[in-house]
Symmetry: C2
Subunit: 205 residues, 2 copies
């Protein structure tokens, strides 16, 4: 099919296909679209790619994505220093920030413990978390990790490490609630979710 | 939401959102994916974008996308000079090339006549088509244009211009068949398609 795509177009389609969720058809559609756009638009995209990759690293305190050595959340004086929310990935910070309901700080682990994928605790930012909790005036550590096998393992592993520390400080370790999603239908919820919802029941006040 | 995305990440998401079919969620997913990839991969994508935009222009003969002044199809000595397939867009050339069933040459109009969008015949590559047909040994011009209102208008407009020329040469102007798609179910075909399928019936041989 050498005549199907002229070479630079073929290369662009090939590169676009490496993106998640982009197959050959979508890659072709995107590439042909871009060829029709003004030079400036394509240059802006290329530059945004290079700059994001060059400038965005990890916050040295919480390991969230940041273009500064310390991220905006960690620098914000308005955020509650006493609450620390532990998440697996930067995308979880973004999701929580979008709720506008959380005003504490974060700690991004950079993944979950997964023996299957050869990821042990030492590959995650767990040691810095322990240090952070022991060295700062944390009153509550909220574990906000998805309830998968890896998530449960990671949550329990970290909770065990934190317990002695938080006991000394009179701080607590909590985890987010699992249950029926809002708008979810009890009838169609799977059994595990329902069991967790029952288990997590609270008194009405 | 200033703390949600660090600035270079926000810019990248903004740029990705300009792509067709990419909403805020997909843009975020793509951006976070790219930040996790090696530098070399992101650079390869940025370079492919810039090079494609810089190097790919239109073939001076058929107006198909090409990195060379004359495209591969037009240069190929193996392609039948006597058959010319007229299409609206380069993506139609790509679709036809993928069938591997067509061995003639192409002519890309660069759009369709559309008074609604202010596109008249003079904005399309119709004049060069007339010249090409009059100056080369074309035996058949195949109109391969989608059967929309704009497509029909364009097909009929071009056919009228070509008729006197092809009559002189003893050449013919044809159009691709419209009918039931392969694997299509007669019961579920719309009436217009069925009518076209009936109208285009052929004797079994």
């Amino acid at each position: 099919m050498s005549t199907v795509y002229t070479r630079p177009l073929a290369r662009l389609i090939e590169q676009l296909q490496r993106l998640p969720g982009v197959g050959p058809k979508t890659a072709q559609r995107l590439a042909l679209h871009l060829l029709k756009r003004p030079d400036s638009e394509v240059q802006a995209l290329a530059q945004a790619l290079l700059e994001a990759k060059q400038q965005v690293g990890l916050c040295s305190v919480c390991f969230h994505l940041s273009a500064e050595p310390v991220c905006e959340v960690c620098r914000a004086p308005s955020r509650d220093e006493g609450t620390l929310c532990v998440v697996a990935d930067s995308r979880d910070v973004i999701a929580l920030e979008k709720t506008r309901e959380y005003h504490g700080k974060y700690h991004v682990l950079g993944g979950l413990i997964s023996p299957m994928e050869g990821i042990g605790p030492e590959q995650l930012h767990i040691q810095p978390l322990i240090q952070r909790v022991s060295q700062t005036a944390v009153e509550e550590v909220i574990m906000a990790i998805s309830p998968s096998i890896e998530g449960e393992t990671t949550t329990l592993y970290i909770a065990q490490l934190l317990k002695p520390l938080t006991k000394l400080k009179g701080a607590k370790v909590t985890r987010i609630a699992f249950g029926l999603p809002m708008g979810g239908d009890l009838e169609y919820a799977d059994e595990v979710t329902l069991a967790r919802a029952l288990e997590g029941r609270r008194e009405l006040d």
